[in-house]
């Protein structure tokens, strides 16, 4: 059985968590950051949707449904947040003043601060998972 990561000592199936277990000095502060973001002013369900969208765009497995920014059942706030998250992962230079205005029509500055930090962390951890994972071409992972 081949391990899920190419990094020696990362043996389990949860690549990022198992990799960070090699570095508890970083794992603890990262967990604190993630918890603080989750306990902030943005509803966790919306943060989860941003995470799913970012992971999907980076080709990393997603548990549950993948949000569709064009879905009719989204309200204006949800849509503005998800549009920002999707553009954040694709190319932040594509986030223009109209997009920021649409977000700030429905979010406070504290919510904006939380959202962009959440997107940064989701983007970072999805890339980390992708790059540390052993590719399928290596065989049985």
């Amino acid at each position: 059985m081949t391990s899920a990561s190419w990094v020696p000592g990362v043996e389990g199936k949860r690549v990022v968590d198992d990799a960070l277990a090699l570095r508890p000095d970083l794992e603890g502060p990262l967990d604190d950051l993630r918890t603080t973001i989750r306990n902030g002013p943005v509803e966790p369900e919306l943060l989860d949707a941003c995470d799913a969208l970012i992971r999907h765009r980076l080709g990393v497995p997603v548990k549950g449904p993948i949000p569709d920014t064009g879905a009719a059942d989204l309200d204006d706030r949800q849509r503005a947040v998800l549009v920002l998250a999707e553009q954040f992962v694709i190319d932040p230079h594509g986030i223009d003043s109209a997009m920021r205005d649409a977000l700030l029509d429905h979010c406070s500055l504290a919510e904006l601060a939380t959202l962009v930090q959440a997107c940064a962390v989701f983007d970072a951890l999805a890339r980390m998972e992708a790059v540390l994972s052993r590719p399928a071409s290596d065989g049985d992972a």
């Binding site: 950051l33 603080t36 932040p92 970072a124």
Partner: protein, 162 residues
């Protein structure tokens, strides 16, 4: 013309998250096991690729004191492979490029090269670092790109702050 103004210190609007980030970042930079010049090479490669003017202008003091001169920084460009940069720097730059452009495309040769330069824990530290450099430089771009800035040497992030 934007209808809403975003203050430059907007991340402080969630002070708990900002403090948690600076704690993580300070520990990574000043208490990690990867040397500071290696992390600075990765950070600057990301800054130039992501197009964050603030990140491109900043130089962390610790890396400079440890020998990362401006001449060496100048070599972190498109022609880095044929430059006089050390092999370690070239391996790190290639890793940053892979993480940013297609993180599924790391080659066996790249893995081998990384593991010849870094132990497993250091690979994890560098990888987390690149992810954070990228994610947080994207914030600076997303909130409204800052103008070009002159090069400035700033204290290396530390925790507790110096």
């Amino acid at each position: 013309m934007a209808r809403h103004r975003i203050p430059p210190d907007v991340l402080d609007q969630n002070p708990d998250a900002a403090a948690a980030f600076w704690r993580l970042y300070g520990i990574l930079w000043s208490h990690g096991t990867v040397d500071q010049p290696t992390k600075e090479v990765a950070r600057l490669r990301n800054a130039r690729t992501t197009g964050c003017n603030y990140c491109k202008a900043v130089r962390f003091e610790g890396a400079r004191e440890a020998g990362l001169t401006e001449n060496r920084v100048d070599l972190i460009d498109d022609d880095y492979r044929s430059s006089a940069l050390a092999e370690r720097d070239k391996v790190v730059i290639a890793y940053v490029d892979t993480m940013l452009h297609d993180p599924h495309a790391l080659t066996p040769a790249q893995r081998e090269a990384l593991l010849s330069e870094l132990d497993a824990g250091q690979v994890v530290e560098l990888t987390l670092g690149i992810g954070l450099f990228h994610g947080f430089s994207k914030i600076a771009v997303a909130l409204g790109p800052p103008p070009d800035m002159p090069t400035m040497v700033v204290p290396t992030p530390d925790w507790p702050p110096r």
